[in-house]
């Protein structure tokens, strides 16, 4: 799949199964990404579903100039920031710590397909937010620097700098293990 663009073309042509393909490819990574902003899994799910709904409802907003994954992540980030802005007005249902941890683990295992990524993810929590996002987009979602810069509203050089500093910090955190992981 070419980052979902061909599936989206088929969806626009009326092929309903293309929607399933896009969801399978992008939904959990999107939830995982949005969760980095909102730090609340049910909210991240809702925001991600909202972003996907937007993608399938406004059929001609995506212009194929960037990869579908980049576009969806941009939608997700925009909705996540909106959610954070309006969060104080929303009523939240309480979950127990055990439930939360279990769900986050499950999401991690669905979104991150390798042991290596999971190991880095655990260390990421100690980094500043922007570094976390840069590492997430480039190492986990395998976006290019330019695509990650588009999602983060930064220049590629800034993303490069963030990643350089993130790697240095991760090496300090992970020690010898980092040499194999990064």
């Amino acid at each position: 799949m070419d980052n979902g663009a061909s599936s989206y073309r088929r969806f626009l042509d009326g092929d309903d199964s293309a929607m399933d393909e896009i969801m399978e490819e992008l939904f959990f990574p999107l939830v995982f990404f949005v969760n980095r902003y909102v730090q609340d899994l049910p909210a991240a799910e809702d925001v991600a579903m909202d972003a996907m709904t937007e993608l399938f409802f406004h059929k001609h907003c995506y212009n194929f100039k960037v990869s579908l994954k980049t576009y969806v992540f941009m939608l997700g980030k925009s909705r996540a920031l909106n959610y954070l802005k309006h969060r104080k007005n929303l009523r939240e249902a309480e979950l127990t710590d055990a439930e939360v941890l279990a769900e986050q683990d499950e999401l991690e295992s669905r979104a991150l397909d390798s042991e290596r990524k999971r190991a880095v993810n655990s260390a990421l929590l100690q980094l500043p937010e922007e570094m976390r996002l840069a590492v997430h987009l480039v190492f986990f979602e395998e976006l290019s620097y330019a695509e990650a810069a588009k999602v983060m509203h930064k220049k590629p050089k800034q993303v490069d700098n963030l990643l350089y500093r993130a790697k240095t910090s991760l090496r300090a955190i992970l020690g010898e293990e980092a040499k194999q992981l990064l």
Partner: protein
């Protein structure tokens, strides 16, 4: 955490809900917008016609009042003569006649009772007539000027003709010192030797207005006023003097003793 197909189903449901809401919104807009636009179009088409019909169906008296109102607004009936002259609306409806400017009823008894005029004309202003006293002077330039004075009591027909002529003027629109041959804004002046005087005074209940043209050209064939208003003034004054000079009273006065040399 739910399975992917559950999330997919929920996304599908959300998309359908949004599509349905959009369809409803479109239907609502059509339901309100189309009749509204139709109403506006129909109103815009029919309202001017309806207004025209209402205007044309108004009674004659009301329309006469409107016409009179327009005349007042344009200043045709102004100041001097309006209080003295018969009511234009009554005369219009009675006689069905309307002249430009002041409207005067035919054979109106009010004319001589409520308004009068005096006109002075001729070379150096030697002839005059005053309708209030009936004094008609052929000339003041004589050894015995009293021989050239008589009394002229106008007949109804003469009176009507005179006032019909005078009704063409709006006295208030003329200055008190006036030269109908020379445009005050023009550098070119026209004069003659000898000159003549032409002084018209109109008296009404509302007041008196004198238009004095002193030392103006003698006039004659082809010599016109400098504009339409001036030409009207000259035509009215010449019409009045011609009418006076055709009366038997004028004709019975002796010939001029002196002529200009």
């Amino acid at each position: 955490m739910k399975e992917l197909n559950e999330y997919t189903a929920e996304v599908r449901e959300r998309v359908e809900i949004r599509c349905k809401a959009r369809r409803q919104q479109r239907a609502r807009m059509l339901a309100v917008g189309v009749p509204l636009v139709l109403c506006l179009v129909v109103g815009a088409l029919t309202l001017p016609r309806a207004l025209r019909r209402i205007r044309s169906s108004q009674p004659t008296e009301a329309r006469s009042e409107q016409v009179d109102g327009e005349a007042l607004a344009t200043g045709i009936i102004a100041g001097g003569l309006d209080g003295a002259l018969p009511d234009p609306v009554e005369e219009k409806t009675a006689e069905g006649e309307r002249t430009e400017g002041i409207t005067i009823g035919v054979n109106s008894p009010k004319t001589s009772e409520t308004a009068s005029f005096r006109i002075v004309w001729g070379c150096y202003g030697i002839s005059s007539y005053d309708s209030a006293t009936g004094e008609l002077v052929k000339t003041t330039d004589a050894t015995h000027p009293e021989d050239y004075v008589t009394t002229l009591n106008l007949t109804d027909q003469q009176e009507t003709e005179l006032w019909n002529l005078l009704s063409k003027l709006d006295p208030d629109s003329y200055p008190e010192d006036y030269d109908p041959y020379n445009d005050p804004d023009s550098d070119v002046r026209m004069s003659s030797e000898p000159s003549r005087d032409l002084i018209l005074t109109v008296r009404t209940e509302a007041g008196e207005k004198t238009i004095a043209c002193r030392g103006i050209c003698m006039g004659g064939a082809g010599l016109r006023g400098y504009d339409d208003r001036a030409q009207t003034f000259l035509e009215v004054c010449e019409g009045v003097t011609r009418l006076l000079e055709q009366t038997p009273e004028w004709q019975s006065l002796p010939d001029y003793e002196f002529y200009y040399e």
